[in-house]
């Protein structure tokens, strides 16, 4: 406040002249104007000072027009009426007569019939009084009416100063001891600032919560999972357990990417998404773990056991959106996340011998980052990509996996490129020009482009969907379904609505899976523990569940549709009863929008705490 008033907040004599002209006094002398300006500035400041008193007594944080009006009244000046008019700042008409001066606004004629006929507006809710426990014996209970125990700022502070927590703990203990010998209290001053080791201890409840959440996130029960994800997304008190959750996700991805366990990867990504969506946690210090984890799911060569059939594309899309979300929320000049991510992706596109799946992922990743990135990092390499696709398409080694990949890449290009092309090609350009610019993909792009042109000219909307940050939300509105192929079940192969059935995807091939592009470990008979407690750097209290949560076992059931000798992996939750997995054939994985709102935060009336 003080600094503001020292900056030249003075009415200029010019504005005085303009004001004078507006009320019909023209040709105000310079001297008069500057005198008036100074005097009016002084009077205004006095009134603002009075208004400030009123603000304080009204116990408000903001100064309002009514404060100013009341301040004028306190100075025995008639306040200015009408500026609270919701129709905007209509110039007031001024009339005087009979010793009174009044200001009024011109009023429109109102059709009485319309007024009478209109339904009555809803009466605003009345003031209500609501009681809750702010603290019980000095401890704040975690209620929706109370603020989250750890604010984001505090979490941030703690990163830079580990002493914060330690001193807080110690102060509590010290004050206890000090009570007896308070006469010497001045000798107790902290002498040296030591950087202390902050211990991370989880209470038993928190450990239990962690166990429940992680189990539900990767377990078989879809309802439990959505509840767990919701808890991760909205719970304000996760701060303490955050390192564990992040470690769980990153370790899980590391292992399952190697194991090509698509389902679990998707579960883990959904978990990451919930964490990213939680407004109350400060994730910055875990990005080094999270980002590689998510990127793995975008560009890994292989994410599922049978790339020709499983829909790992949706996982890549989903993860690409997560990467974009991280870039949007956390990229800044110091960490340069976006630049680094873009570099990685475009490198993947440029590499000639990268797997097509990888290139697909990189494409999705770049596409989600917006038109600017597409333009500068993707378009220049379209030719290289085109050559590769051409090679696959016309190549002798007829590899169905690659063919599917090419189809997907095409679709992806169709999704991201047209709006960008639109911005710097005009409709007069011909196929040939496109051919020159984009090589093999030229004709395809041209057809896309011209289609886009047509549709645009009909709708005339120039805003393309990628520039809006809502693009990532589309996921939640359109829940894509992913099908896990479980050959042991008699469910016929379904393709998700995400994939338009095209001839190249139909399950034609019956090649044994063992000949697929190699996975490092053998598929058969695998038995693997997903995650126990990782991160040994933090001391773990003994109660933490260190038992394996999910196991992959092989079953020896006769397969129906394929004749491969290796049994398909099955997900079994150890802690729970090993239920029959009969419904696992068709499971919605990336279930969408969180429709259930957090319950309990609705207090009566319109306000909610």
């Amino acid at each position: 406040m003080t600094s503001e008033s020292h900056v030249g907040s003075v009415l200029s004599s010019k504005s005085i002249k303009i004001i004078a002209e507006s009320i019909g006094i023209s040709g105000l002398a310079d001297e008069a104007a500057s005198f008036l300006a100074e005097d009016i500035t002084y009077r205004l400041k006095l009134i603002v000072q009075e208004a400030e008193k009123l603000r304080q007594h009204n116990k408000r944080l903001k100064l309002t027009c009514t404060d100013f009006d009341q301040a004028l009244q306190m100075k025995n000046v008639e306040p200015v009426y009408g500026h609270t008019n919701k129709d905007g700042y209509i110039p007031f008409r001024h009339a005087s007569g009979g010793g009174h001066e009044i200001f009024f606004t011109e009023e429109k004629e109102v059709d009485l019939h319309a007024v009478v006929g209109d339904p009555l507006p809803k009466i605003p809710s009345d003031v209500t009084l609501k009681a809750h426990w702010l603290a019980i014996d000095g401890v704040q209970p975690a209620l929706p009416e109370n603020p989250p125990p750890y604010t984001k700022d505090l979490q941030k502070q703690e990163i830079f100063d580990t002493n914060l927590k330690v001193t807080a703990n110690r102060a509590a203990k010290a004050s206890h001891i000090e009570g007896n010998k308070h006469k010497h209290y001045h000798k107790h001053k902290e002498a040296v600032m030591l950087k202390n080791l902050a211990t991370h201890e989880l209470s038993v409840e928190q450990q239990f919560y962690y166990k429940e959440i992680t189990e539900s996130c990767v377990g078989p029960d879809e309802q439990k999972r959505s509840e767990a994800l919701q808890s991760l997304q909205f719970d304000p008190g996760l701060h303490q357990m955050l390192p564990r959750f992040v470690a769980f996700a990153s370790e899980g991805v590391k292992i399952n990417a190697v194991q090509n366990n698509l389902a679990l990867l998707i579960y883990l990504m959904r978990m990451v998404k919930s964490l990213l969506d939680n407004q109350t946690i400060y994730l910055d210090k875990y990005l080094h773990d999270l980002l590689p984890t998510v990127m793995t799911c975008v560009v890994s060569r292989q994410l599922c056991l049978r790339p020709d059939m499983d829909n790992h594309w949706a996982l890549r899309d989903f993860a690409a959106r997560l990467v974009a979300q991280i870039c949007r929320n956390y990229s800044n000049n110091t960490n340069n996340i976006q630049a680094r991510v873009t570099k990685k992706f475009s490198k993947a596109i440029q590499t000639e011998n990268a797997a097509l799946a990888t290139q697909y992922g990189a494409l999705a990743g770049l596409g989600e980052l917006g038109p600017e990135v597409i333009k500068s990092c993707l378009l220049p390499y379209i030719c290289i990509l085109g050559e590769r696709m051409k090679g696959v398409h016309e190549g002798t080694a007829l590899n169905s996996v690659d063919k599917i990949a090419v189809e997907h890449i095409k679709r992806q290009l169709l999704k991201y490129l047209p709006p960008v092309l639109k911005s710097f090609h005009n409709s007069t350009e011909t196929v040939d020009e496109f051919n020159v610019a984009y090589g093999y993909l030229g004709p395809l792009l041209y057809s896309m482009f011209s289609q886009k042109e047509k549709s645009l000219s009909s709708t005339t909307s120039s805003v393309h969907p990628l520039t809006t940050s809502r693009s990532s939300l589309q996921l939640t509105q359109r829940p894509p379904q992913i099908v896990i192929q479980q050959p042991s079940t008699p469910v016929p192969l379904l393709s998700s609505p995400f994939l338009n059935p095209s001839p190249s995807i139909t399950p034609l091939n019956s090649r044994p899976l063992s000949s697929l592009p190699s996975t490092p470990t053998g598929v058969s008979g695998q038995k693997f523990v997903i995650v126990s407690q990782a991160r040994p750097s933090t001391p773990i209290t003994p109660q933490t569940p260190s038992t394996p949560l999910v196991k992959l076992v092989t079953t020896q059931q006769p397969s129906l549709s394929t004749n491969n000798s290796t049994g398909p992996p099955k997900i079994v939750v150890i802690q729970g009863a090993p239920k029959a997995e009969d419904n696992s054939g068709n499971r919605t994985l990336l279930s969408g929008s969180t429709t259930v709102q957090q319950s309990g935060n609705n207090i009566s009336g319109n306000d909610t705490l």
Partner: protein, 667 residues
């Protein structure tokens, strides 16, 4: 209720009546002159036998006074000299020993202010602006707000009628300093013969010299910040009877019924009625005022009953200390679009009143008992007055509701206060009135007019009958409910009086003001017995400790200060709040202080520690002997609310903390 207090002032006023009349007459004559009503003027003059000379004299006198006031700054010195002089003084102070430096530097601010004003007064506008720009940042941060007000004044014309400047002009800035430092300063001035500086010091400064060691930075910081510096030593010399009044014996045994209501109370407790800790008060306290010092209303049967209940409740009180923090129950106002401006909770925590910025007052019941209206007079006649449950019978059950609306004020209600017997409610408003409401018939009884400007605060005395009000007109007033004129007017604050509070023994009233001082006034003779400085901005709330010895204040400077009433010295400075502190409450046993404010938090402070660490043996008349506790460990706990400002705090008789405030939706 009978008292002779209210009759006191009128008797004294009688000789002054004639003079008062004459003044009114002059005022009327002036009005007639102004509006050119010559005939009436002549007639009035004839009738009142006033001749023109008298009138002229009166006018001249007024003009003289205002001239004399303004001429204080007349000076013929070279304007460019000021800068050098100030700089010179600064280098001198910087070159002093560290011991004196801190004390001497306090002189810089008043000198800066008066130099600036002298420059402005003598039309050296440009020099003034430059002088200000050069040195304003050197001043302590807590002066910056006053300085920005000062900076508004750029022309001689502005100096008339400015509240702040009037204070600077008419009163002297008080600086307390040890004799050593003072001799240092004196020698410097004598050597250099700096006449303009000497003039300023002589005209506008009052240097209060004490014998002793110079004060430390911390000690000076704790008491500085007032518009006019510190309190003089002499003003705080009067003895204050801060002890509690002797409580009348409550020898009423509560009804069986009420005991039963409480459930299976252990029979042991009944016997231990004479709990020593609670009976201590009945001993004679040497610091307590005589019971008859201020006439208080006689206690009725109902009051005795009330006290007995209170006493029983007090026995179940939870003991609080740094290891046993209280529970906090928070009452949140939802949908308060009109803006809650004040909240009060009755002493027994059964009622809650809130004032709104649209002028309404609402009362809620916090117990399952709903609020009922008294029956009509005709129906009341039919009631058997000898019945045991007559107090039940007089109410009309048909009117029961959870809350009642009281409409009357036409401006924001800045304060509400329950009477101790819960029969009345007071509210003060922006419209300049104080209203007394009956909580039996739920209607307005009296409208007290006196403050012509917004009334910022109103408080009932803990014994009922009297109440104090504080307003924008820079006065605090004490009223008796049955008089529509105030029985005392306390004038002395240099700016708005923002809050007031009755001492638990009802003999004193404390007021806090925008001039950053807190004053304690004696009800008996209306004199100011303590001036307590230390706040750096407007004081918004005051609270006496339950034993009556200490006073806590909180304000816009985000500080909570605790003073010892015996000496008027600051005992503790509690820093932690990040916005205006607007309510304070001591726990019932006085071991803890809760403070709440606009920063959406409630903070608990360890009073036990402050009081036990306070050195009572030292001679507090020497300011450098006073130890001030500002250790951060005094903060016991902080409870944040969810964007809900804390407007009122209240410890129940059993030491449960109640907080109230409106939820402000952020969207």
């Amino acid at each position: 209720m009978s008292t002779n207090l209210s009759d006191g002032p009128t008797e004294q006023d009688e000789p002054a009546v004639a003079k008062y009349d004459k003044q009114t007459l002059f005022a009327v004559l002036q009005f007639l002159q102004k509006h050119n009503l010559k005939e009436t003027e002549q007639l009035l003059k004839q009738e009142a036998k006033v001749n023109d000379d008298d009138l002229r004299d009166e006018n001249d006198k007024k003009a003289e006074v205002s001239q004399a006031l303004a001429a204080v700054y007349k000076s013929d010195d070279d304007p460019s000299l000021y800068e050098d002089l100030y700089k010179d003084l600064k280098t001198f102070i910087d070159s002093c020993l560290d011991v004196h430096k801190v004390e001497l530097s306090t002189i810089l601010y008043p000198i800066f202010v008066h130099m600036y004003l002298e420059l402005v007064y003598n039309n050296h506008e440009w020099n003034a602006a430059e002088f200000y720009a050069k040195f304003w940042q050197d001043q302590d941060e807590y002066y910056h707000e006053d300085l920005s007000r000062l900076a508004c004044v750029r022309k001689k014309e502005h100096m008339n009628g400015n509240q702040l400047l009037e204070s600077f002009k008419t009163s002297k800035f008080v600086i307390r300093m040890s004799r050593d430092s003072y001799t240092h300063l004196k020698r410097h001035f004598q050597e250099k013969r700096l006449s303009p500086l000497l003039n300023i010091i002589q005209d506008h400064l009052f240097i209060d010299v004490f014998d002793g060691v110079p004060r430390t930075q911390q000690q000076i910081q704790a008491t500085y910040g007032g518009i006019l510096g510190e309190a003089e030593k002499d003003v705080n010399k009067a003895k204050v009877f801060y002890g509690l009044l002797k409580e009348p014996d409550v020898n009423i045994t509560l009804d069986e019924e009420e005991e039963a209501q409480e459930g299976d109370e252990k029979p042991k407790k009944k016997k231990s009625k004479k709990d020593p800790s609670l009976m201590k008060k009945s001993k004679n306290d040497p610091n307590a005022p005589p019971v008859t010092r201020i006439p208080l209303p006689e206690l009725k049967d109902q009051d005795f009953r009330e006290r007995a209940i209170a006493l029983r409740d007090a026995k179940k009180r939870v003991k609080l200390d740094s290891n046993h923090l209280p529970s906090v129950c928070f009452y949140t106002f939802l949908n308060s679009y009109q803006g809650v401006t004040s909240v009060d909770v009755s002493d027994d925590t059964s009622l809650l009143a809130a004032g709104f910025s649209d002028g309404n007052v609402r009362v809620w019941s916090l117990t399952p008992n709903r609020l009922r209206e008294m029956k009509d007079p005709e129906d009341l006649d039919n009631i058997d007055k000898e019945a045991d449950d007559v107090m039940e019978r007089i109410f009309d059950d048909k009117t029961a509701s959870d809350n009642k609306l009281l409409i009357g004020h036409k401006g924001a209600v800045f304060a509400v206060s329950f009477s101790p017997d819960r029969a009345y409610l007071l509210s003060s408003s922006d419209d300049g009135t104080i209203r007394l409401w009956s909580l039996l018939i739920w209607t307005n009884l009296v409208c007290y007019k006196g403050h012509n400007f917004p009334v910022w605060d109103v408080k009932f005395s803990s014994h009922g009958y009297y109440f104090a009000s504080a307003g924008h007109d820079r006065t605090a007033r004490v009223w008796a409910t049955d008089h529509y004129q105030p029985v005392r007017i306390f004038a002395g604050h240099l700016s708005d009086v923002d809050c007031c509070q009755f001492h638990p023994n009802s003999n004193y009233v404390a007021t806090g003001s925008s001039d950053k001082t807190v004053r304690l006034w004696d009800m008996l003779n209306g004199s100011c017995v303590r001036v307590m400085t230390g706040h750096k901005n407007t004081v918004h709330c005051l609270q006496f400790s339950p034993d009556g010895r200490y006073l806590a204040g909180g304000g816009a400077d985000r500080l909570v200060l605790v003073w010892d009433l015996a000496s008027g010295a600051v005992v503790a400075v509690l820093k932690g709040h990040t916005n205006i502190v607007c309510c304070l409450c001591f726990s019932r046993d006085g071991t803890m202080l809760a403070s709440g404010g606009l920063d959406d938090s409630i903070r608990l402070w360890d009073m036990q520690k402050i009081f036990s660490e306070q050195d009572t043996e030292t001679d507090t008349s020497i300011p450098s002997n006073v130890t001030i506790n500002d250790s951060p460990s005094l903060l016991l706990a902080t409870f944040f609310t969810k964007t809900t400002t804390v407007m009122a705090l209240h410890f129940t008789r059993r030491n449960l903390l109640i907080g109230c405030g409106p939820f402000i939706s952020t969207s």
